[in-house]
């Protein structure tokens, strides 16, 4: 059967100010049936959030904050990490296309430039029974902001790194183009091997020595990569150890 996929961003709602693009998108899904690839963006989020509603602060008009609505019916709930990898690697590729060097992904899905954080991804899925009904993919990237809250441990932005001001609309279009391409090419066609190898190419600390916590102990080891379910594989003096997000603390 031939299926025509909707162009990501064909349906695009932009707001100068919004509480949170993810919240808006989640409400949209609850009330209507927004088309696949619908994009919600905001010049400024008054209630921008990271995981567990942690605040995500960003100066008005300087950064990208947007959410994409997709319906990954063709994946099982236990394949969710593939979506996370697909989005993260697509953004990394798009940034490289914009001549941003040293783009890294910090496990599981933070966007880094070298050792500094430049963005994050927050994915919220809606599940009906065992069926994965829809996803809201929230993406925040520090683009043209050059001063940050001194409380933040290690922020950076694309402008700081490239020493130039970037066109937000152009950047958003390029990111959406890459995400749409990779979503269709690797997720729909179940080419997960490609996602794995690409993710590992960008993975911060891959095949390098790291310090990590294992229960009470602090260990040295090598970051070997991730498993299909997203758990990280660390090879220490006691051999292979696997941790889910939140189960270990890593120092690169």
């Amino acid at each position: 059967m031939l299926t025509a996929y909707t162009h990501f961003g064909k349906n695009h709602l932009h707001f100068d100010v919004l509480d949170s693009t993810n919240t808006f998108a989640q409400n949209l899904i609850a009330k209507s049936s927004p088309m696949d690839g619908t994009v919600i963006s905001a010049g400024f989020q008054s209630q921008g959030r990271g995981q567990f509603d942690r605040k995500w602060l960003s100066n008005p008009g300087e950064n990208l904050c947007f959410s994409i609505i997709v319906y990954p019916h063709f994946l099982q709930p236990n394949q969710q990490f593939y979506l996370s990898m697909c989005i993260a690697t697509a953004i990394a590729k798009a940034l490289e296309n914009e001549k941003v060097g040293n783009v890294k992904l910090k496990w599981p899905n933070d966007l880094y430039i070298g050792p500094l954080k430049t963005g994050g991804i927050l994915i919220v899925n809606q599940l009906q029974g065992l069926k994965w009904a829809s996803s809201v993919i929230g993406i925040g990237i520090n683009v043209n902001q050059t001063s940050f809250d001194p409380e933040l441990p290690n922020p950076t932005s694309l402008a700081i790194h490239t020493s130039k001001v970037l066109n937000l609309k152009h950047l958003l279009d390029n990111i959406l183009f890459q995400i749409e391409h990779d979503y269709n090419q690797y997720l729909r066609k179940a080419d997960f091997d490609h996602l794995f190898s690409t993710y590992h190419q960008y993975l911060l600390g891959h095949e390098q020595a790291v310090t990590y916590s294992s229960g009470e102990a602090i260990r040295q080891g090598v970051l070997k990569g991730v498993m299909p379910d997203g758990r990280i594989w660390l090879e220490g003096e006691f051999g292979k150890e696997l941790f889910a997000n939140g189960e270990t603390s890593l120092t690169y």
Partner: protein
């Protein structure tokens, strides 16, 4: 002593038959008391801002226990009716959350009516947050899992009276 270590101690206590435990070094002293008759209060590093709510038998009596309606497993299922109840199960391995954030109210509590499509909980795995929707209308009669605790695939989370 780190938060994680305290958390591990509490977890060990929960699994043991001890009702009291104390431990002292040159620099610090830890005392934990917990009545075995109460359900253990789960505390995880994922929600550090959540107050460590010890069961309310604690000497400092809560002025109004109804205020402490923090998410915890609830049981109000009349035994006789359990055979016609519908189960809401976990579609995946992850961590079960009853609210969207530590300071937010629970999505549902015992006695609440849910509609088809109502979000009943969140299961988090690898920083992906899954809103679990009820597939049918009914009334929540039992919450089987503590907030912020791990769940397995197919584990029963709620009992619903259709």
């Amino acid at each position: 002593m780190t938060f994680k270590e305290i958390q591990d101690l509490i977890k060990l206590m929960d699994k043991s038959t001890l009702s009291e435990f104390s431990f002292k070094t040159e620099t610090y002293e830890v005392k934990i008391k917990g009545p075995r008759s109460y359900a253990p209060t789960m505390v995880t590093t994922a929600v550090p801002s959540m107050p460590v709510a010890m069961p309310s038998q604690a000497p400092i009596a809560a002025p109004n226990s109804s205020v402490q309606e923090g998410p915890k497993a609830e049981d109000a299922a009349p035994k006789a009716a359990t055979d016609k109840l519908i189960e809401i199960k976990s579609p995946m391995v992850g961590t079960f959350y009853r609210s969207s954030a530590p300071d937010k109210p629970a999505f549902v509590s015992v006695g609440d009516s849910v509609q088809k499509g109502s979000v009943v909980c969140i299961i988090e795995a690898m920083k992906l947050f899954n809103e679990i929707e009820s597939e049918f209308a009914g009334k929540i009669v039992k919450v089987l899992v503590e907030d912020a605790s791990p769940v397995e695939y197919d584990q029963v989370l709620f009992l619903v009276e259709p």
